[in-house]
């Protein structure tokens, strides 16, 4: 063992984010004091980000199987069968902490990381999405973070050459010190050409590919596993720097050598770089790995073993190649101008051995580092559910139309055009439905199939009732896929929470997981990949529980997808699903009444399924001319969105007398959709709905250029659009 490294002190252990009992576990495991490099390796493998030690026991309860699931959680990304010999590979991952410290690079490398996860499995990326949560608009840092994160996502995705087609943006004071950047990537591979991380065969060359290793990002994963304090700004050097150009070359080179049959196993170097990728390849393949760091391409001089093992330099890959194909693979990498170096080999020892300058810098049992990392059953408490709010007891401080105008201009509901116009969403020529709808739709290769993609979660519901909130996040995702006519297939979950060592936070986590699991089971909507981001806290203040759900649905014919825009005047507007006027935790209550209170709307999964199947059938047989799910802001906001997207207005019937008007128009009851149908078909649709026990109401007719509610002041669609489009650009220009 190399003795040039300092001895391990209690301070060093703390600095590496290891708890005393975890250090004891290390001592027992190796029977001696670890070297500094070894301590670094343990800290990288056993931190929350890489080991899922607080979450694993709960994640196991999620449904992950289905006849169409090829690969569930545990690999770089999930894989589902989409027919015709093709597979869809997708995953969502957070880059929260780096994005708060250095928004441009943090967000950019988040996109880079998730793209690598997808093409590592042999898929060509076809779309990206991102779910963003920022602090209150009035917070002095918010504008800077929005601007940097959006530019970073665009800067990486646009250059790499993948369309960014959807996502979500929200604002709330609870994200003031801890923004969330969840990036999702989706790719297409041939079903019989999926590549995995598990190495096989003893004495196989391990090859390092891509960019050179530098000192950037050392301890990034450890940072991502700690809460922020006042000194978070000082952590800037742990944020990596992205190079989308290299990644684009890496993509092309990787796909080329995969196609040529050179690859046995492949793992991208993401969090904890060389350490994590090498250990996973060995541990998953039941093999040992020896790395010779003298062979690692470096861009800085004098790097120590410790630094090389923990560097998070971007755009790097580790592969096990077929020995007879090594030369061919090297030629391909050289053609793309990328580094290629044999840096080690697989062994039969099940040890992870790191050599540097003739010294053994680390010699550790590989399984215990990887799949046998510590696991915690952390204590949790579930807080009492808030009282239900009776709509009769909620005063309407302003008129219905005034409230609509205000809601459309609310930060969470307004148009996010300012954001998605900075993302190239048309590259590759397959974007059928661009950002701004319920789900994006992209054509698969030359068609006729298409994929529908969306990201969803309602954190205020999750906070008020984690179980219902978890269910709702999945249900809304499912609805958004249904609303474009797709068959929902599977999800990826990105679970963002506070400090799991606090029982009430762990309670939120456990509750949300239970809700997600229940909804996924009821809707046959398995979880195939995901990521957990804990310790999202600053100075002891946690974010709202935010389990972002990224969903993928399939359209057999992308041309049949529905959009939310009204298509022509004179069509019947149908409301599908039960309206009770649920105002608890609604946008109306928050934005109009200034109250963040009450129980969130309950989610009836049987109703979700029945109503959803009905709507999808209407879209696919061409009866529905437009489709839209009803979520934040309720019925009237959803109608306004359909009007704004088309420029066509509507005449709406009066609210029923048994519900207060503002609760009818703005309540957030679940399992609801709006569709339009040509007038002569409306009656037949009512009859069809009745036959399958789905509640349907005729609520009005598309008409002219004005939105008219019975008994209210009419309002021009152009004015609604102005409200909807103005807030974000004005805010970002510093005018608000």
């Amino acid at each position: 063992m190399n003795r040039n490294e300092p001895r391990i002190t209690p301070d060093l252990i703390v600095e590496h984010g290891l708890k005393p009992d975890e250090y004891d576990r290390i001592l027992k495991l190796i029977g001696r004091e670890p070297s500094l490099t070894e301590l670094g390796i343990f800290s990288a493998m056993w931190n929350e980000h890489c080991s899922y030690k607080s979450s694993k026991v709960h994640l196991r309860t999620l449904p992950t199987k289905g006849p169409w699931v090829i690969q569930g959680p545990g690999e770089n990304a999930g894989v589902i069968d989409i027919g015709d010999g093709l597979a869809c590979v997708f995953k969502m991952e957070s880059h929260n902490h780096p994005s708060y410290i250095e928004p441009y690079q943090g967000a950019a490398t988040g996109v880079g990381g998730i793209l690598r996860d997808v093409f590592t499995m042999g898929a060509r990326p076809i779309a990206c999405l991102n779910a963003l949560s920022f602090g209150a608009p009035a917070h002095p840092k918010t504008r800077h973070l929005v601007s940097g994160v959006v530019a970073g996502i665009g800067g990486y995705g646009n250059s790499f050459g993948v369309p960014t087609v959807g996502g979500s943006v929200r604002f709330h004071a609870r994200y003031d010190g801890n923004c969330l950047v969840n990036a999702m990537a989706v790719g297409i591979a041939r079903k019989d050409q999926i590549f995995y991380a598990a190495a096989s065969g003893v004495g196989m060359p391990i090859v390092y590919l891509g960019s050179k290793t530098g000192r950037d990002g050392i301890h990034g994963a450890t940072m991502a596993s700690a809460a922020f304090g006042e000194d978070s700004e000082e952590k800037r050097p742990t944020v990596q720097v992205g190079d989308p150009f290299s990644e684009k070359l890496l993509l092309e080179a990787c796909l080329e050598i995969m196609q040529k049959g050179c690859v046995i196993a492949i793992q991208d170097m993401g969090a904890a770089g060389l350490t994590c990728s090498a250990v996973e390849m060995g541990a998953k393949g039941d093999l040992g790995v020896t790395l010779d760091l003298d062979k690692v391409p470096r861009r800085e001089e004098g790097m120590s073993a410790y630094e090389m093992m923990l560097s998070e330099s971007q755009e790097r890959m580790l592969m096990v190649l077929k020995p007879e194909k090594e030369k061919e693979a090297e030629a391909i990498f050289r053609k793309w101008g990328l580094d290629f170096a044999v840096v080690g080999e697989t062994t039969s020892s099940k040890r992870f051995t790191v050599l540097h300058g003739g010294d053994v810098m680390a010699d550790l049992p590989i399984k215990e580092l990887g799949d046998l990392a510590p696991e915690y059953k952390r204590p949790f408490v579930s807080l009492a559910k808030p009282e239900e709010i009776d709509a009769e007891n909620v005063e309407a401080p302003i008129g219905i139309v005034e409230a609509l105008e205000k809601l459309l201009a609310a930060p969470d509901l307004c148009s996010k055009r300012w954001v998605w116009e900075q993302y190239d969403h048309v590259i590759l020529g397959n974007t059928v439905q661009r950002p701004g709808g319920d789900a994006a739709v992209v054509r698969i290769e030359d068609g006729p199939k298409g994929l529908a993609l969306t990201t969803d979660v309602t954190p205020r519901y999750c906070e008020a009732d984690p179980f219902e909130g978890g269910k709702q996040a999945v249900a809304e995702c499912w609805r958004n896929l249904i609303a474009v006519g797709a068959k929902p297939l599977a999800i990826t979950d990105n679970l963002n929470f506070g400090n799991p060592e606090r029982p009430e936070i762990m309670g939120q986590f456990v509750g949300c997981i239970r809700g997600i699991a229940e909804a996924c089971k009821a809707l046959d909507f398995p979880v195939v990949s995901g990521n957990v981001s804990l310790y999202n806290e600053t100075n002891g203040r946690a974010i709202m529980p935010t389990p972002s759900i990224g969903g993928v649905g399939l359209l057999d014919d992308f041309k049949k997808s529905a959009t939310l825009a009204f298509k022509r005047a004179g069509e019947t507007i149908l409301l599908i699903g039960e309206t009770t006027g649920w105002l608890g935790q609604s946008m109306y209550l928050r934005e109009i009444c200034g109250r963040e209170e009450g129980a969130p709307p309950p989610v009836d999964l049987t109703e979700e399924r029945e109503n959803g199947d009905f709507v999808r059938a209407l879209i696919l047989d061409g009866t529905a001319t437009a489709g839209h799910d009803i979520s934040d802001g309720g019925l009237l906001v959803a109608i306004a969105e359909m009007a704004i997207a088309s420029g066509i207005g509507a005449d709406l019937s009066a609210a029923p007398t048994d519900i207060p008007a503002h609760a009818h128009w703005f309540g957030e009851d679940q399992a609801r959709y709006l569709v339009t149908v040509p007038l002569p078909k409306a009656e037949a649709v009512q009859a069809r709905a009745k036959a399958v026990n789905v509640p349907v109401w005729t609520i009005g007719r598309t008409s002219g250029d004005t939105l008219t509610l019975s008994g209210e002041r009419p309002i021009l669609v152009t004015i609604l659009r102005e409200r909807f489009e103005s807030w974000l650009p004005a805010y970002m220009a510093g005018e608000l």
Binding site: S159, G161, G429
Partner: protein
Amino acid sequence: MKAAVLVFPGINRDRDMARTLRLTSGREPAMVWHADTELPSGTDLVVIPGGFSYGDYLRCGAIAARAPIMDSVRAYVAKGGLVLAVCNGFQIACEAGLLPGVLMRNARLKFICRDVFLKVERSDSPFTRGYNAGQVIRVPTAHGEGNYAADTETLARLEGEGRVIFRYVAPDGARDEAYNVNGSTNAIAGILNERGNVLGMMPHPENHVEAAIGPTDGRGLFAGLVEALDQAA
């Protein structure tokens, strides 16, 4: 049509362009690697597609303009061969001296992906014969540096010689700075070289050619080229 699409490292609309050429001409284009020194024999259309050649870490297009393949492109242009240079391709063509002027950062300093409206100023070029003069077409832009600028004398020549072939306009064809997406001088979206055989433009006609995906206003450019080249052949 025998098209050759140049591929520099970091170019990323090469696949879009290849598909559009295939759809509109019925022939698969040749993909030509930047390190090659010869265009395929018989090439009658060179396309420099969009993307971020060499990451655009230096001035956009500056490195690609000096790639080995560019000498043969210059020789081909000198013989009157047609070149369509789109987005990063336009930047490369300017850097390579095939077209005058430069493309600066967008006036609002942000990357913008948005459908824009272009007025086709002339229909008597091989690139625009598929359109009517004065026609307004809708095509997408996706760039951060498309703000066209040139010195006064060059601008006067471009305008005087009718070499400004596409201009950003309002949907009804009127000049309106609100629709000049990147702040280009004279709302210039596309220009021809002196001889009229090199077109540089920032927007992406290749992304608007299929009715199933969206508008098809880009089709006229490719259909016109196919017609022109078939007649010449």
